[in-house]
Structure formats: structure tokens, C-alpha cells
Amino acid sequence: MLTALWLVPVVGALLVGVVLPRRLARPVGLATALVTLVLALAAAVAFQSGHQGYQYEEYVPWIRDYSIAYHLGLDGISLWLVLLNALLTVVAILAAGDRVARRGGFIALILLLEGGMAGVFLAADLLLFYVFWEAQLIPAYFLLWQWGEGDRANQAATKFVLYTLVGSLLALVAVIGEYVYAGGGAHTFDLATLAKQPPSPGIQFGLFFLFGLAFAIKVPLFPFHGWLRDAYAAAPVPLLVTFAGVMGKTGAYAMLRILVPLMPHPVLWWDWNAVVPILAVLGIAWGAFMAIAQRDMKLLIAYSSVSHMGFIVLGIFAFNQQGQQGAVLQMVNHGIIVPALFLLVGWIAVRTGTRDRTRMKDLAPRMPVLAGVFMVVTLAALGLPLLNSFAGEFMTLLGAWQFSPWLAVAGCLGLLLAPVYMLRLYQGLMYAAPGEQLPPPGDHGHHGAHPAAETATVARTDLAGGELALLVPLLVLMGLLGLYPYLLTQAMNSLGYPLPVPWR
């Protein structure tokens, strides 16, 4: 059952990429993604909250001499991320329209990426986790490089890979270190066993650094976000749906499921558990300020992502139930909002021919539906109550307050700045000051009075039906999770293995 969640996309990818003719690429790819989504939904429907331990567990010994097992399991955290992954892959494939060149390869690699990320969420064995963790990098690299926008896509892809690899290869040392030093000398890679018997605090300190670096780069946590700017600028929008929507979450998920339970007391020269939340808060502020400074819409969203991921990390390292559950909630929420934002921004860029937000204005009269949808997503992104982001951010800050009021107060800065950059973006794009409006649609008359030359030409096309349909599931989820976040948190009392601070 769980094997299918990663194997179906991989098989589909091989079919699309190698076996089938080009014209079948999209239907078969879409069918594969839909089958995976149905499987994930089935797992969610049959999921039993309150059950202790993994569900739908699969266990096959793999390399006995090193007690490496093919061990998969689903619990109340991974369930939602697997679902998110499956849903966003469908969206990404649908979004990969005619503008994507060599679409077969693109869809195949998106599916491979889905398989790799699903494996990361499902693995219950540290080494298996690492295998998937590294494997997801390969399709991501090819996607960024071969389908990247701009002439520096190659450099952006290489930068991304090298950044990530520095972390993840050091994490390999940490994986081996866990095997050698933890588990009471049991020499195992089994996550649940390793969590029961962590190594001595000094060893934990070293391992925490090695693992933490890998995960922090992936999230990305300030100040390890150097790859993000180039990569997000280069990534095509359909890729960004899963790249931004899910891949960063693999890092946050790994922090919650590996860093925290396996190394609960990483104290030698200092306490890492006290350092990371400070970095998270710095990231919240840094991301927000950088977002305010951006003119490129894509980069604005990218930096806002850094800010939002800061909340997630802050919640995880608040070391209490509210903070950590809020973080999981926020992983899902952010995974819903960011793809929607990137899609919208991408469509606007296609219609206006530029990604520079200062070169356009007064779009709302020309594309009212798009403007309306964009409004909803903007409000969700800045954390308006009744939309999904509010509950998650509130919980993480509540958790952070119990941990350290100062950090919570500093984190609130991000909440204050989010409306600044989001509403400025929205206002600037959609409206214009009185008297500066562009001529109404269809009127080609008075150009002289307006700085129209600087303003990008606007094709007067509103959202197409297909585009809107793509966003509807995301919009529905924004509303649903905003009204009823308990839908997600109720499953979170079923964990594969307990966290240091137990959840009830």
C-alpha cells in the first residue's frame, strides 16, 4: 500500500519518460498522479486517529549486516504531507501546459520528484530516509537545469545541487554516526529504536550540527538560503508548485521527525535547541524585509516563503504540542498557499510580459476574476483569520510564547510585515491611484496623459476556465482548513514514534 505511494509515480515516470510516445505523456502522467492522489486519499480516509505507532506499516529486511530495512510507515504527520505532495503533483502536471517544451521529460521528472518526496515522508528507517532524501535531488536538478528560465538556469541548478549536497553529504556522516553511537549499541537505522536511545549529549551536539545543516539548507532556514534566490528565479512555474510547495517541507519534516526526537539534548559548547529558534526568528524578519524590497514578483513570493518557513521552524523548536502541531499545520497551509501564489504570479507575468511588479498596475478591471482569486490568496498568505494560515501561525506563536515570550514577540514582526509586502503587491498590481488608471479596456485613445510607455502592455484576458479549475481545490482547502483546522490536528495524536515532548 505505502510502497505504491512512491512506486506508482516512479513507474509512471519511466513510462512517460522512456517507453511511451510523446503525445501520451500528459494523459498518462496525469493519470499516474491522480491514481497516487486517490491512493493517498484512501489512506487518509482509512486512517485511524489515536492509534499508537505507524499505520499501514511495511517492513522488509534489506541489508541485514547493517540492519538496514525497507521500512515504511504512515502517521499523523506524514499523512498530510503525503496528501499535499500527491495533490500538488496533480496541479503541477495540469499547470504544465503547452508552453512547457519537451513536456514528456518534464512530466516524468515531476513524477520522479513526487516519488522521491513521498519516500522521504514515508521512510521509517534512517538510511531509507536518506536514500529518498538524496534521490529527490536528481530530478530537481534536471528540472531546474533543463527547464529553467533565463540563461543562468544551469548555474542556478548547479548552485542548488552543491548547496544541498554540502548539507546532505555531511548528513550521511551523521546517519553513520547515529548507527555507530546511538541505539544503545544496537547498530540499527530504525528510527523508533534510535529515538528511544539517543547518544550522549556531546555526540548529539555534533550529529545535530551535521543533520541540522542538511535540513536547514533544504527548508531553507536563515542564513542557509543562498541557493533560493537563483533557483526560484530560474524555476518554471509548474515546477515551483511542488518545488516550493513540498520540497522545503521535506526539510521541516525531517527537523521534526529526525532532528528533534533523535537528538533531544544536543548540548556541548552550547545548546543547539536554543540556537535554532533564534535563527528561525531572524529568518522570519529577514525574509519579510527582503520580500518588501523585491520588484520581481516571483522573488517576492520566494522571500515571503523564507519568512513563513521561519514560523514553521520556530514552532518545531518551541518544544511543546501547540508549537509543533502548529508547525505541521503550517507546513500544509504554506504548501497550499505558495503554489497558488506562484501560479497566479506566473499567469500575470505571462499576460503582461514582465515579472516586475512596478511595471504594471490597474489590472483588476481587466481581469476581475483573477483579481478576486488573488485577493483571497493574498489574505490567506498574510494570515487573515478564517483562512488557513491563521490557525497555524497562531499556534506556532502560542507555542513559541510558552517557550520564550521574547522570541514570540520578535516572530510577530513577521505577521506585521506580511501585510506590508502582500498588500503592496496586490495594490500595486491590481489598482492605480485615482487619475492614474489605465484607459478602460477597449479604449486605445489617450496614451499621452499617462505613463503608459513604462507600463507593460496588458493582454486583456482574464483567468481561463482551466486555470481557475486548477486553483479551486487550493481555494477550497484554504477555506476549509481555515474554518476547521481540527481536521488535520485530530489525526496528529497518532504518531509512529513519540516525540520528546509527547503530543496528546
Binding site: V18, L165, G177
Partner: protein, 500 residues
């Protein structure tokens, strides 16, 4: 002590039964030697036009027989020492006999097409390959310093000739001369070291040396100089830095199948030799040779990976990558014990498939006027020939150590052994330099998928295609079921740590 050793030979009456039993212990070597002799005779008897293919077929058949014999002997649980303790048929030896048989088969298949295209003498080429395979197998089976040197020279002399096989190509001639000089130099080091170790221990038999040299001998200058000299010679043979300077020139100049063959074969044979002599015979002075090899390992990883980044020839790039890969494998040698030695054995098999495969792809691109081994020559390969492009990507990703390919598990086992036995600093160097390595392995992939305006015609000889495909399939399959070779590696490492 010398007297006892000398006394052994004359008193044993060497019967046919004994000869048969000894030959059976080294059955795969026997088979390859017989094949070599048959091939030489056939070469003389047949008309010139048909010689090449006939010898190629005979070589493949002989190597397959050797492989089958090795498999049979493996299934019987390995053998014991033969030739009065000078050689052995234990599972360590068989492991290498399997490896070298596979390598020999792949090499003959690849070189058949290559030699035709470049219009070389074919049968001589295969005969040299067989001779080198014999030398390599002897190194795996050697349990005496004398036999070790015998194998080393058989292997080296065959390769000196093979390197200069492109007679009208000055690069090839340069490679042969360089390899001969440096190789001779290294052999002299090894031989001198062996002489000193023999002087210190009074025997050339490795098990006997292991018994006689204890930690109390660690201050014996004779022994220490001997160990250092042997270590330097071995480092030359595995092209470990700072003794690697010959590698890129020789790899670049030698004909491609020879490069492919020796990049894997010489390295594997040299590692068999290091494991036998250092890990098995000289654990008593472990601290001494470990210090030397740790330095070589760190230097190889750093120098190899840094230099590879700057290369424009794929052959040179792979040569430097081989230097670095040798550094990784030394981590396993240093770790020792079952986990360390079996990790080295596993890695050698992994290395066989991924490195040979990468070179074999280059042989597909060979034209009658020469080789095409610049990085730009790969441009567009992924578009004009999707399959080859995909396979090259697989090899490069595997060499870079990406899961779930076999190279990843090779590194995992090596590094686990390293951390377990306290070589964490070396593993950290290995890991950090691997990041550098990804930069140049990916550069190859980048060239493979760089679009090209005009698509040149490639015809694809069947032989190399088969070899490449087999290598790639194994590189992927062994990543999914690594325990097959890993288990074999553990068994192969058994004889070296038994009784310890």
C-alpha cells in the same frame, strides 16, 4: 628460519595428484592461462583475416570458463592454500577471480570493436589483456611476497605494452614510456620493501609474517623502512596522491579499452595486494602503515577531486576521479576488520561497473582517425542517442554516489566502516571532497544534454553497447539489491580476518 623455508621445497615430493590439487585451487587462473596459450597458437595457425575474431571468441570463452570455475569454487565454500603456501584458493582470491573475469570479458567485447575501427592488430591486443588478467588474478591469490611480486610484474609488463599499442600515436607512445618508467620505479620500491620485510621476518609467506611480526617489532627500523617502501610502491599502483602524477597522462594516452581495463583492473589488483600484505600480514605494525595510508588517502581525495574539476578531457577527468575514488577505498583499508575489507571489496565491484561503463561509452564514440574524449565531444549525446545519454548519466551519478545507485552503497559501507573504527576525520574529508566531485561529474552530464545545432551521425558498434548496457543495468540493480555483492564481500573478507 631461512633454513626451514629452504628446507620445505626439496623434501616435498611433488606428485601429479598434488599438482592437480594445486591447479584446482587456482582453477580460474589455470583456465585463463590455458586460454592465453591456445589463443597464441590459434593466432599463428589461422589466416590473418580471421585471426582477430577467432582470438576474441576464444578469449571470451576462456574467461567465461574461468568465471564459471570461480563460481563453482565459490559455491563449494572456497579453498585453501596451495603451492606450499605460495598461493591460495580461498574466497578472497575467488572474489577477485570473479571480478577480473568479468572485467576481462567486458574488455575483450569492447576492444573488439575498437581495434577494428582503429585498424590495430587484434589478436595481440586480446592476448595482452589475458596476460594482464592472469597477473591480476595472481595478485588476488598470492599469499607470499614472491607470488605478489610475480603477479604485479605479469600485470604491469602486459600493460606497458598495451599502453603503447597505438603505434602511430605519439600520445600512446608517451603513455607507454611514462608508465614503464614510473611502473618500474614503483616495482623497485615494492621489491626493495619486500626484501627488507623478508629480512626482518625471515619468511616471505604472508600468514607466517603475520605470526612473527607483532607490535613488539614496531621499532625495528628494517621492518619500518620495508613497510614504508612497500606502501609507497602500492600507492603508485593505486595511483594515490602524491604518487599519482603518471595517471592522467597514461590514461589519456593509452587506447581507450586499455584505459578502461586498467583504471579498474590495476586498481582492484593493487587493492587486493594491499589488503593481503598490510591488513592480513602486517597488522602487527598497523599504526605505521596506517599513518602512511591515511596521508595518501586524504591527499588522494583532495588532489584528485580538485584536479578533476579543471580537466577538459573526459579521460583525464576520469583519471583524477579514479585517484579520488582510490582515496575513498583506502578508508576501508584503514578501517580493516570484516566491515572495512568487505566494504573495499564491495566498492571494487561497484567501481568496475560504473567506471568501466563510463569509459566504454567513450569507445562507442571512437572514429577511425582517433578518439573523441574532449568534454565537448559529448555535447548533445543525450539527444542524438537517448539511451547512451541516459546510461552516461547513470554512471556519473553512481560515481558521484547518488542513491539508489551502487556507488552510494559503496560509499556508505566504506564510510560506516571508517566511522566505526575511528577514522571520522578522514570520512569528513571524503564527504566534503565528494561535494566537489559532484561538480565535475555533473559537468559531464551537462555536456551530454547540451543541445547541438547539427547532429552528427553516430553508428553504434554492438559490442560496446552490450558492455555499456550490462554495466549500467548492474549499477542500478546492485543499488536496489546491494546485499548480493555485500554478502559476497563479507565472505570474501573472511579469510583475511580469520583467527583474529
Amino acid at each position: 628460519m631461512i633454513a626451514t623455508f629452504l628446507a620445505v621445497t626439496p623434501t616435498v615430493s611433488y606428485t601429479f595428484g598434488q599438482a592437480g590439487s594445486d591447479l584446482w585451487q587456482v582453477a580460474p587462473i589455470t583456465a585463463v592461462t590455458a586460454t592465453l596459450l591456445v589463443a597464441m597458437v590459434v593466432d599463428l595457425l589461422l589466416p590473418p583475416r580471421r585471426r582477430g575474431s577467432a582470438v576474441a571468441v576464444i578469449s571470451v570463452v576462456g574467461l567465461v570458463v574461468a568465471l564459471a570455475l570461480a563460481g563453482l569454487r565459490w559455491s563449494q565454500g572456497g579453498g585453501h592454500s596451495a603451492y606450499s603456501g605460495f598461493a591460495t584458493g580461498d574466497s578472497f582470491a575467488i572474489y577477485f577471480e570473479v571480478l577480473f573475469s568479468v572485467l576481462g570479458i567486458l574488455t575483450v567485447i569492447v576492444s573488439h570493436a575498437y581495434v577494428r575501427r582503429r585498424d590495430f592488430l587484434e589478436s595481440e591486443f586480446h592476448v595482452l589483456t589475458l596476460a594482464a588478467v592472469i597477473g591480476m588474478m595472481v595478485l588476488g591469490a598470492a599469499t607470499s611476497l614472491v607470488t605478489v611480486f610475480l603477479g604485479l610484474e605479469t600485470l604491469s609488463i602486459a600493460l606497458y605494452v598495451a599502453c603503447g599499442f597505438a603505434r602511430r600515436d605519439t600520445m600512446s607512445q608517451e603513455a607507454a614510456a611514462k608508465y614503464l618508467l614510473v611502473g618500474g620505479f614503483a616495482s623497485a620500491f615494492v621489491l626493495f620493501g619486500m626484501a627488507l620485510v623478508y629480512g626482518a621476518s625471515g619468511t616471505t609467506l604472508l600468514p607466517e609474517i603475520a605470526r612473527r611480526i607483532g607490535p613488539d617489532q614496531a621499532s625495528n627500523p628494517l621492518l619500518l623502512i620495508g613497510v614504508v617502501l612497500m606502501g609507497v610502491g602500492f600507492a603508485f599502483k593505486i595511483s594515490g596522491a602524491p604518487f599519482h602524477q603518471w595517471t592522467p597522462d597514461v590514461y589519456q594516452g593509452a587506447p581507450l579499452p586499455v584505459t578502461a581495463f586498467m583504471s579498474v583492473g590495476t586498481k582492484a589488483a593493487a587493492f587486493a595486494m594491499i589488503l593481503r600484505v598490510f591488513d592480513y600480514a602486517l597488522p602487527g605494525v598497523g599504526g605505521e602503515w596506517q599513518a602512511l595510508l591515511a596521508f595518501v588517502a586524504a591527499a588522494s581525495m583532495i588532489v584528485g577531486n580538485l584536479m578533476a574539476i579543471a580537466q577538459t578531457s573526459v579521460k583525464r577527468l576520469l583519471a583524477y576521479s579514479g585517484v579520488a575514488q582510490g582515496g575513498y577505498m583506502l578508508v576501508g583499508v584503514l578501517a580493516g576488520g570484516n566491515s572495512g575489507i568487505s566494504a573495499v571489496l564491495f566498492y571494487l565491484f561497484a567501481y568496475l561497473f560504473m567506471n568501466f561503463g563510463a569509459f566504454a561509452i567513450l569507445t562507442v564514440l571512437v572514429t577511425p582517425d582517433g578518439e573523441r574524449d574532449r568534454l565537448e565531444d559529448l555535447d548533445g549525446l543525450g539527444f542524438r542517442h537517448r539511451w547512451l545519454g541516459l546510461l552516461m548519466t547513470v554512471f556519473m551519478l553512481s560515481l558521484a554516489g547518488f542513491p539508489p545507485l551502487v556507488g552510494f552503497f559503496g560509499k556508505l559501507f566504506l564510510f560506516t566502516a571508517g566511522v566505526s573504527s575511528g577514522w571520522t576525520w578522514l570520512v569528513v574529508i571524503a564527504v566534503l571532497t565528494s561535494v566537489l566531485s559532484v561538480a565535475y561529474y555533473l559537468r559531464v552530464v551537462v555536456h551530454v544534454y547540451t543541445p547541438l545545432a547539427e547532429v552528427p551521425e553516430v553508428d553504434r558498434p554492438r559490442g560496446p553497447m552490450v558492455a555499456v548496457t550490462v554495466s549500467a543495468v548492474l549499477a542500478v540493480a546492485l543499488g536496489i539489491v546491494p546485499f548480493v555483492i555485500q554478502g559476497a564481500g563479507v565472505m570474501g573478507a573472511g579469510p583475511l580476518i580469520a583467527g583474529r
